[in-house]
Symmetry: C2
Subunit: 457 residues, 2 copies
């Protein structure tokens, strides 16, 4: 397309605003201009993803990421930066997993691309070889429970494309990753293969956390990509005698030391009241953790930097928290919440970005009805920037711990979700998938919301 668009003077497109809102509107415009013109968030993300890469709790990369976080927050202009120690689980993948279909037919069958699920146990060094039982749901598993013993159970539950917000499809499907192994082990399964929680058009397997029910044996568990899931499903229907060989080398080591990275911009009026903004610094080992959640980290740092650059000193103390261990334990967030409770800290609000650095559409949130109504009343201020969805319930995993411990009102940036599950927990969650402006618009949204909360909550 080549058409000419006439630029529209921005103020004209704002709906009728009150006097106070007009002043807020001008400040939001200043914040947006600052972020869209001068933000180092994208270059910060490049460093985190390309120089450090995947950074699971307990890994040497995570230790490097903590150092990076401290430095980036200092450069952003924090009054103080410190580490908050916590114990974190230490799961390691070991040598790369493998899986293949063994068929009596002599045709060539390419290996299956799999990734062990986080927290799962490895197979024996010799691997597991067993027939495959495909199930499409837990109901289907229960119906077939007499046929599970000695088998590898293959959960082939599709990601529902009719959910418009893809996180709803994730919520619908993720139980098979989380609980599938123990539900199958209960009936004697020897391993599980779980179709990835994705509607991507490629074949990357998507890992993620799982948990064992201690009542049943711990069995190996892997994720499989969508094309391989289709292939496996066809094969076992076509050749019921087909078996799968599966070997994983992962194991859980003793807990080790990790850290939340915390920075503060001291409040001018109520320095002992806190507003938290954060993302999680850890990521899965097999990706660069760009959208999940390098984006949330650099956006949170940008909130502080933009405030400093514009001379905005919040009334409450702004705390940027780069949380440890969101992916397979939430220990960082638990520690942060426990410390806040132990010190009887007063927390006004907590905001998280952990749904990707895509174009922001609004915020999901959980708070009392009065505060929610206040927040929704700000919608006209944010709509010119494309943030229009303020009703969605929710809040982040990490700030959720604070919400649970202290009842703190919480929100999460809600970016456009269409691309997120193409890359979530998969090797293709790389820096190149992040768009500079989308990332920056999200950071603006977060800074704007915190500015408004600090004035009004």
């Amino acid at each position: 397309m080549r058409k000419l668009f006439l630029p529209i003077v921005f103020a004209c497109s704002l709906p009728a605003l009150t006097m106070a809102q007009q002043s807020d509107s001008l400040m939001l415009r200043r914040i947006a201009d600052e972020v869209l013109t001068h933000s180092p968030a994208y270059e910060n993300l490049r460093t985190l993803t390309k120089k450090i890469g995947g950074r699971l709790a307990g890994s040497p990369q995570m230790a490097k990421a903590e150092k990076w976080g401290v430095e980036a927050l200092k450069v952003a202009g924090a009054d103080t930066v410190y580490l908050q120690e916590c114990m974190v689980p230490h799961w390691v993948r070991g040598a790369r997993e493998e899986a293949r279909i063994i068929s009596r037919r002599r045709d060539f069958v390419p290996p299956l691309q799999v990734l062990a699920l986080g927290n799962s146990v490895g197979s024996s060094p010799a691997g597991v070889t067993a027939p495959v039982l495909e199930v499409t749901s837990f109901d289907d598993l229960e119906a077939k429970k007499d046929h599970v013993k000695g088998k590898i159970v293959f959960y082939n539950y599709p990601f529902n494309p009719t959910f418009i917000k893809t996180f709803h499809a994730y919520g619908d499907a993720v139980q098979y990753r989380g609980q599938g192994a123990s539900r199958a082990a209960k009936y004697g399964a020897v391993a599980v293969i779980v179709r990835s929680m994705s509607h991507s058009t490629d074949n990357y397997p998507h890992t993620g956390a799982m948990t064992y029910d201690s009542a049943y044996p711990k069995i190996p568990a892997v994720a499989i990509g969508l094309k391989d899931a289709e292939r496996l499903s066809l094969r076992v229907k076509d050749d019921p005698s087909a078996q799968v060989f599966l070997r994983t080398n992962c194991r859980m080591l003793p807990d080790t030391i990790g850290h939340n990275v915390i920075a503060e911009l001291r409040g001018s009026k109520y320095p002992d009241q806190y507003i938290t903004v954060g993302g999680h610094l850890d990521s899965w080992d097999v990706s660069e953790g760009a959208q999940d959640d390098g984006a949330g980290c650099v956006q949170s740092i940008e909130v502080l930097r933009a405030f400093k650059a514009l001379g905005i000193q919040p009334a409450r103390t702004l705390r940027v928290v780069l949380f440890a261990n969101e992916e397979n334990g939430t220990r960082g967030a638990r520690k942060y919440a426990a410390e806040a409770k132990a010190r009887n800290e007063k927390h006004i609000f907590a905001l998280e970005s952990d749904a990707g650095g895509f174009t922001p559409r609004g915020f999901s949130s959980t708070m009392d009805a009065d505060k929610k109504a206040i927040m929704i009343s700000w919608k006209p201020l944010f709509e010119p920037y494309g943030l229009h969805d303020f009703e969605e319930p929710g809040g982040g995993t990490d700030v959720g711990q604070l919400h649970q411990a202290l009842g703190t009102p919480m929100a999460e940036l809600y970016p456009d979700s269409q691309r997120y599950f193409d890359i979530h927990h998969a090797p293709n969650d790389v820096f190149e998938g992040v768009n500079k402006r989308e990332l920056e618009l999200g950071a603006f949204g977060m800074a704007g919301l915190i500015y408004m909360v600090d004035l009004n909550f």
Copy 2:
């Protein structure tokens, strides 16, 4: 992020609707489910972009694309498919352009990546070598007009990052591409180099149409990528004696024959009233034309396919039009409008998709206030699908011709615009940049809007 989201039953999240809207809401849900589950739009786009590729008016690829369009529309279930002939300009790029900085210093200077602007003349076979005069605007050019003679004028006007809707930044900057050559030729410039209309982080040059003012000599004109623009700017400041060598091999051949590809789904009640939906089939030669505008073509085809698949027979005749020659002449759209006028056709509405296949945010439109108010009243029906912006003025370049000729109410799908100018008219506008779900959500939005218009306009 690994949190669990509880799926929300969709109907619950709809705002209070009238009885008629409830029925509309259910039909929109059916359309969305159909498109998100069964659409071949993404695979259609793969064929168009990967098997045919760039397809400028007059090229053999465009002829192939016409054949592809006829076939795809038949498969989609059209009652009739036909070609509408029109004469189109025939500009050819010739052998690949080249440009380099010639400096007295002996350091190595990598060549500049340039693309001749569409419709521009080639340099002499020996190329042009001249000093460079950098200007940052037309005002700056006027101020320096006495220094233009014999120079290559370099328009280094940056794409303004503070426009939230990036099409406004395009509207602000594109005059340098469109008119820059003649404005500089007026003062004796021998060629122009234009900074690409983009805020991308790469160095691809972005071509696009330009026009000459017949009052001045026609001089060569090229686009340059953003990193090279910065490099050239630094070099000419640092070494005022530096020259640029530039050679382009493009030329305008005599007009040739092209075609609009048109399909109809016959109206049940008013078959002689028309609703048009379309995109343009042509693209720049140097890209696959995936977002611009393969996406709009396959989305338009999908509107017809989804109607057929769901047994929706519109009251008015639905016309899908794959327009010829949007990029450098708009001759297809002019022909379509002229024919409609000559035949005294009654056109109810015309919808275009030519702003990329990204997640839809709403529709820009131009129609009388009553109709616009009706359209805006449908917002609650579309918001659950993420389409929230119904106020934006506008309409597409191609349907704009119909609007001009007959006053037909017009609209254009308004997708998220953050990534569009990373790839617009550039070699990186490829199939891989299109997301299947984003493309489908746009097609749903278009089908939904046409369904509502057919019932209510």
